[in-house]
């Protein structure tokens, strides 16, 4: 279990993930060696799962992002597994979540433009198995995107 010092380190890391290690150590009130040791331990125990690089798809020419929400045909016991396996094979899918609620699954799907979106939707999304219902939310803008929690 992470102790108060670990939490302090994680809080500083969340607040400024780009900060150099020495800076982070100073803010958390630990030595750089201790910071390194603790981060390694947090990684090994799985508390710190990853420090990922965000990719700005729009800068690479992927202008369209859609949040697709699905309900599945639950009379088919393998519906979830088969849907997930098929969704993982769609290269334009960047996120997959499963839910308890009125929606069973959500995919984030990106496309270069609206014409490309239309072909992705027709050829790769409408062909996903066991879909009972779906709806689409087209992204206009991201106002906040953090992974912060109140540690």
């Amino acid at each position: 279990m992470p102790d108060p010092t670990d939490r302090r380190i994680l809080r500083q890391l969340l607040a400024d993930p780009e900060a150099p290690a020495a800076e982070l150590a100073a803010r958390a009130g630990v030595t750089p060696a201790s910071l390194w040791r603790r981060l390694e331990k947090l990684r090994a125990s799985g508390v710190l799962k990853a420090i990922e690089q965000r990719i700005d798809w729009r800068a690479l020419g992927w202008e369209v992002e859609v949040s697709l929400r699905f309900t599945l045909d639950k009379t088919e016991p393998r519906a979830f597994d088969e849907f997930l396996a098929a969704a993982r094979r769609v290269p334009e899918v960047t996120e997959i979540q499963t839910f308890l609620g009125s929606v069973d699954l959500r995919l984030s799907v990106i496309a270069r433009d609206m014409a490309h979106w239309q072909s992705v939707y027709r050829e790769r999304i409408l062909t996903l198995p066991h879909v009972a219902d779906s709806d689409a939310l087209m992204l206009v803008s991201t106002i906040k995107d953090s992974t912060e929690v109140s540690l």
């Binding site: 279990m1 992470p2 939490r7 994680l10 890391l13 969340l14 993930p17 780009e18 125990s45 799985g46 508390v47 710190l48 799962k49 990853a50 420090i51 990922e52 690089q53 965000r54 990719i55 700005d56 798809w57 800068a59 690479l60 020419g61 992927w62 949040s67 993982r88 290269p91 334009e92 899918v93 960047t94 996120e95 997959i96 979540q97 499963t98 839910f99 308890l100 609620g101 009125s102 929606v103 959500r106 990106i110 709806d135 689409a136 939310l137 087209m138 992204l139 206009v140 803008s141 991201t142 106002i143 906040k144 995107d145 953090s146 992974t147 912060e148 929690v149 109140s150 540690l151």
Partner: protein
């Protein structure tokens, strides 16, 4: 728009998994000299392709066992109501993600809470009291995976 080749894609695949990898480590993995990797990372950074780091924690291990996605429809629309709503919703610490969308809802939110009763408190005291909020739909997240997207898969081996 920035054009990228297969080597850039491979670099992005590495960094998307671990942003702390050094140019030397990526170079070793791809069999390319470190200065060449460094120059490419510099170019991708300048082009705005590398959009900052995302720290991914095991929220459950830290006492935040519940993640909920909300769809929110505003009851009143207009420029000021959007701005008021956005200002208020981004200030809520438990709200991690706010996206303005087109479709059945106007906004989608991602919320982390300690448990279901903590979520209920956030929903009642903070979300339902937001300016202009109308219909709200909540779905509790069970699992999540991020995909490399169109960067493609690593070659076998």
């Amino acid at each position: 728009m920035t054009q990228i080749d297969e080597t850039d894609q491979a670099i992005l695949r590495h960094l998307a998994r671990d942003a702390t990898l050094s140019a030397a480590a990526i170079g070793r993995s791809l069999g390319i000299a470190q200065p060449a990797i460094w120059r490419r990372i510099r170019r991708l950074t300048d082009a705005g392709v590398l959009a900052g780091r995302r720290v991914v924690l095991d929220n459950a291990a830290l006492g935040f066992g519940v993640t909920v996605f909300l769809g929110i429809r505003l009851a009143t629309k207009g420029r000021t109501s959007l701005e008021d709503f956005e200002r208020a919703v981004t200030a809520i610490p438990e709200v991690q993600v706010v996206q303005h969308v087109l479709g059945q809802f106007d906004y989608r939110l991602r919320i982390t809470a300690r448990d279901i009763s903590d979520f209920e408190r956030i929903l009642r005291r903070r979300i339902m009291t937001l300016p202009g909020v109308g219909q709200v739909e909540a779905n509790v997240m069970l699992s999540e995976e991020r995909r490399p997207g169109p960067l493609g898969q690593d070659k076998a081996g």
